[in-house]
């Protein structure tokens, strides 16, 4: 269909000075250029890769120590007013309650998003045009909206309690945030599933057909098992991205690590010298959690590299 509306070689007009078709097949650019284009298209489904290295964490930690030192030099370092002492008092709250909530939100949102995303992704490769179209539309809708907007929609539009008969079920903030996060994850996983199914060589489908597999059998027994292997590294990358994104629900007052840090700072009379050490401490925690995931993703990617 699209070919019908295209002029024969539109790209020729796009480059100033090029008036006719190519006279030679010699490449103007290294094959690296092709790789970059392919990688960009891959990034659209896999998300930006987190490339964490051990020295990043070390650097953040040193920066944290540096700002702690600067802060300590600014104030009288009496016993319970010292920067490290203050931080030490708040660590149980920030990590034990706040960061744990970040993790709970990320686990749950990932589980919900994956379950819904796989269904939506399978819908996108359905043979029924209505199912395919609506799944595609839903996917694009949630992929193209900013996470914060989706989060706001869910947080403010869902009721804070539901009444079933006489039972009143209260929905806590973080549950709504979890649902809010699972929506963009759902859309991206859906795109991932569609991409993975399409990346399986068509020979697999044809071979299955010649062995008299039905479409459902082909999908479940031949195509999807191969997809799972390819999807694991980008899926883990999405998990890391999600974990990095969980602090945005602090804007809506969910009491996770960033929100609790802000509260801690306020209850310490908002002493300006505490700001940098506290926020750097947060960065260090997030790094410590995401680093192993990122490394693992890279190693799995190497292991599962597609051999055709």
């Amino acid at each position: 269909m699209i070919g019908l509306f295209r002029t024969p070689r539109p790209e020729l007009r796009a480059i100033p000075g090029v008036t006719g078709p190519a006279q030679t097949d010699l490449p103007v650019l290294l094959p690296a250029a092709q790789l970059i284009g392919r990688k960009a298209r891959q990034d659209r489904t896999n998300g930006f890769r987190l490339e964490l290295k051990a020295w990043h964490g070390l650097f953040l930690f040193l920066l944290f120590l540096f700002f702690t030192g600067v802060a300590a030099a600014q104030v009288d370092n009496t016993l319970d007013k010292g920067v490290l002492a203050t931080l030490w008092r708040w660590i149980p709250l920030i990590v034990g309650q706040g960061f744990v909530l970040n993790l709970i939100i990320s686990f749950t949102a990932m589980a919900l998003g994956t379950a819904a995303g796989v269904m939506l992704g399978l819908g996108q490769i359905s043979l029924l045009p209505q199912v395919r179209g609506s799944s595609w539309f839903t996917t694009q809708l949630f992929r193209n909206s900013p996470w914060l907007v989706l989060l706001f929609c869910v947080m403010l539009l869902l009721p804070f309690e539901i009444t079933i008969g006489d039972v009143i079920i209260r929905i806590p903030d973080w549950t709504k945030a979890t649902i809010g996060f699972s929506l963009p994850i759902m859309a991206n996983i859906s795109e991932l599933v569609r991409g993975a199914v399409q990346s399986i060589p068509s020979g697999q489908w044809e071979a299955a057909e010649s062995l008299a597999f039905t479409r459902r059998q082909t999908l479940w027994q031949i195509i999807l098992p191969q997809c799972v292997k390819r999807m694991i590294p980008p899926w883990m990358n999405w998990y890391a991205i999600l974990t990095m994104a969980t602090p945005i629900c602090s804007i809506m007052g969910v009491q996770e690590s960033v929100n609790l840090t802000q509260q801690a700072l306020v209850s310490e009379d908002s002493r300006p010298e505490l700001l940098a050490p506290f926020y750097l401490f947060l960065l260090v925690i997030f790094f410590c959690y995401c680093y192993p995931i990122a490394r693992w993703t890279v190693s799995l990617e190497r292991k599962f590299v597609v051999k055709l």
């Binding site: 290295k53 914060l148 300006p272």
Partner: protein, 247 residues
């Protein structure tokens, strides 16, 4: 136009759907101001992040080891930390150290929340852009560079006239991914009270108690905004494609 606005007033009176920004002039102006600020913020960040990307990629090709190290450190820092924490770190952390000027009775910091949002988001997207441009530059063959040198271009001239135009075409798809991502990320500026679309919508629904209507509007506006951007970028990508490369 007036009758169009009045239709929404009737809609509110009849059904209770309160699209207040249509028929109340005050709210309309507020909403439009917010919308333009979002566009302004996005465009400013896109421009600065591309500049940062181009300059950073040039610095990365420098002969001095220390320059390369600094650029690398910058990229790694901004790539691997959550943008919201970066924003807070800039606004609250560094904002506390910036001097204030007397603005008639009260002291106003030199860099306001909008300024910090632009700085933080540009540096965030710029870090990705440096890598993107660098990969594009590396894709330009050594012989092209040598040919430019043979024609008497110096390093900067060759960069601007020969390498960058080629590299730009090569890395356009990757650049587009990043810029679309950046426009989505501008919503985070809400957190430091930059009066952009999201913040204004919040003000409007706080004043008029019409959360569902404003939420829907906000969502649709953002989807249209990002949708138009994605569409335009794809078109541009197809137009700028180098013949024989990519499919």
């Amino acid at each position: 136009m007036e009758s169009f606005y009045d239709w929404f007033r009737t809609l509110y009176n009849d059904t209770g759907f309160n699209f207040v920004y249509f028929y109340e002039e005050y709210e309309r102006e507020r909403f439009i101001r917010g919308f333009w600020l979002t566009i302004y913020l996005s465009v400013t960040c896109v421009v600065f992040s591309v500049i940062i990307g181009v300059v950073g990629a040039w610095l990365q090709g420098s002969n001095l080891k220390i320059t390369r190290r600094i650029v690398q450190g910058y990229i790694q820092f901004f790539r691997n930390t959550p943008p919201l924490v970066q924003l807070f770190f800039f606004y609250f952390g560094l904002g506390a150290f910036t001097p204030s000027v007397d603005a008639g009775g009260y002291y106003e910091p030199i860099i306001g929340s909008f300024g910090w949002a632009v700085i933080s988001l540009s540096f965030f997207a710029g870090a990705f852009n440096v890598e993107i441009f660098r990969s594009g530059i590396e894709a330009v063959p050594e012989s092209t560079r040598e040919a430019a040198e043979a024609l008497g271009y110096n390093r900067l001239q060759a960069y601007i006239h020969v390498i960058l135009p080629l590299a730009f075409r090569v890395c356009l798809p990757a650049l587009n991914n990043n810029l679309v991502n950046l426009v989505k990320t501008t919503t985070l500026a809400y957190a430091i009270a930059v009066p952009e679309l999201m913040y204004t919508a919040n003000q409007i629904w706080s004043d008029n108690v019409n959360v569902p209507e404003m939420m829907m509007t906000l969502w649709i506006v953002y989807i249209l905004l990002v949708g138009v951007l994605v569409w335009a970028m794809h078109r541009w990508e197809r137009k700028m494609r180098i013949p024989g490369y990519g499919q």
